[in-house]
Amino acid sequence: MLERANPVSESRVGEGGWRVVVGTRLSRIAAIVAAFVVVGLVVLPAFASRALIQDLIFVFTMLALAQLWNVLAGWGGLITVGQQAFVGLGGYVLFAATVLAGLDPLLAIPLAGLFAGLVAALIGPLLFRLEGPYFAIGSWVVAEVCRLLCAQFKPLGGGTGTSLPNVVTANMWGLKPVQDLLAVRAPVARDVIVYWLTLVVVVATIAAIYAFARSRLGLALAATRDSMAASRSIGIRAHRIRYGLWIVCGVATGIVGAIVYLQKARISPDAAFSVTDWTAYVLFIAVIGGVRTIEGPVVGVLLLWALQHYLAQFGSLYLLLLGLIAIVMMLFLPKGLWGTFAERADIHLMPLRRRLRRS
């Protein structure tokens, strides 16, 4: 009921006292709560255990990846099962830049993003030639190519991979100040830095996607997804937006990959380009929470975290269960937990739809 009153962001259309509104009082409250949560998360390392920090690193990276997949597939119609290509490339560039070129990890992370974006820009036009669902398999092929090429890269251990030498992280920028600030040992300080990095990335990703989804570009893209006829008439423009989105998501996914492997400090082609780790979990998160919503993946990642905590020890059975849950969800709650709830209760914490309201 709350959101029916007092639109907070609005613009006039035509005459007669109707307005287009996106935001609601509820969404403003949600934004304030979210801001407090973020501030809380920033200062959390001062109190939390190292285990919780490490868990949250997992949660934030998976959430960022899920949001990136969600915007690609949900808004861009680019349904990919090959995002592990960019995660792996990000990781490998981080290792190459730090181990081989001696760069500071914090410098290597944006470099990893740029490289992943470059690969996305080069391979995108090729993949876009594939019709609809075949794009998905094409993206998977690209990830396999990247995996096989990295396996041929002997300086980083070829097929068996390599570890990040201690010296790389021991002198990392910011390590000493964080050690002093929190009075912790170097490995803990490294976790904290990675934690902050993932927090920055996930917040920036969500904010950027929210802004994009509400922008003219996002609306134009949503329109082409909903109507084939419309997509033909504004085809070229939509194609450009989609291409841009693909590259930007490649950059962001590469950055996430670099941060993940800074934390893991050990890389191998099979792990870095794993379809299970970087696509299956990500799809699970999106499906459970609700594709094409921004709140959905947040719900999804928390559920995955819980399942992981209790069931990951069961290995294959755990993955089997995740697959079954996802299939059952698609059949009976195709909008996901959050998407279904939001629709039934008409609650939108991060509203995207423009509604007509009489003022």
């Binding site: 597939a73 949900g74 349904i79 099962v81 090729l126 030639r129 594939l130 019709e131 609809g132 669902p133 075949y134 998905a136 398999i137 094409g138 998977w140 092929v141 690209v142 396999e144 190519v145 096989l148 090429l149 396996a151 041929q152 097929g159 379809v275 299970t276 299956a280 799809l283 499906v287 594709v291 294959s316 059975l317 993955l319 089997l320 995740l322 697959g323 079954l324 996802a326 299939i327 698609m330 059949l331 195709p334």
Partner: protein, 288 residues
Amino acid sequence: MAVIDTLVQGALLGGVYALFALGLSLIFGVMRLVNLAHGDFIVLAAFIVLVGATSFGLSLPVATLIAVVAMFCLGFALQRLVLEAVLGEDIMPPLLITFGLSIVIQNGLLLGFGADSRRLDAGAFETRSLEVVQGLNVGLAPLLALIVAIAVILLLQLLFYRTALGRAFRATSDNPEIAQLMGIDHRNIYAVAVGISLAVSVIAAVAFGIRANFDPAIGPARLLYAFEAVIIGGLGSLWGTLAGGMVLGIAQTVGARIDPEWQILAGHLAFLLVLFLQPRGLFPARRA
């Protein structure tokens, strides 16, 4: 002679890849569905045949026949009970469901059979070879795989272009709503298409399983090869798919000659090259 040998071995390998690809191509042609679990269904079929042959002591042909029937029924049921509900304008739900199936099948097989490599036992047959000319030996198993691939394509062609069911397939593919006006129940047509796709997967699985090892994790790679054969050959043409499989097989064999580690990569690169030069494939079907 080494060059010819490489080409021949590659082309024979292409027969297996064409068998992988036919089922994928068939359901995409009829219902625009891409089954991301296609490779895992092939592996599942291989395990069904393996169980039939080892646990029940059936001969390989009998076990294959039973598996063909079983997989047809599985495909029919899968379409009617699961995929039918999500098939529509939005291509995302069927992709996500079949991706989920891929995970379920892989891990189900892992639970049931462990991660060990298996092989179908075709007796002495699998190692026998034929000396075509001096210095050029052709394995009987790979040769039979190619012949079977050609036979399956011929059968599918007959089915599609010479029978009422085939006309119903093509009419439904053109326009499902108008097909209903011909008394064609498109839901059953789709289910039969998925059934045939999985039945063909059994043939593919046997052709593959008697010449190479398999384990529960290799499904996705089979999906990629199948997909590459389809795209290299050009959508909508079964003979194109066979040619696509052969191009892929030759690329892999050539790659392997250069460096064994390059085999798979060479195939993927050939696919990307074709996509770059001829996005509609090497032998695209005449657009009706």
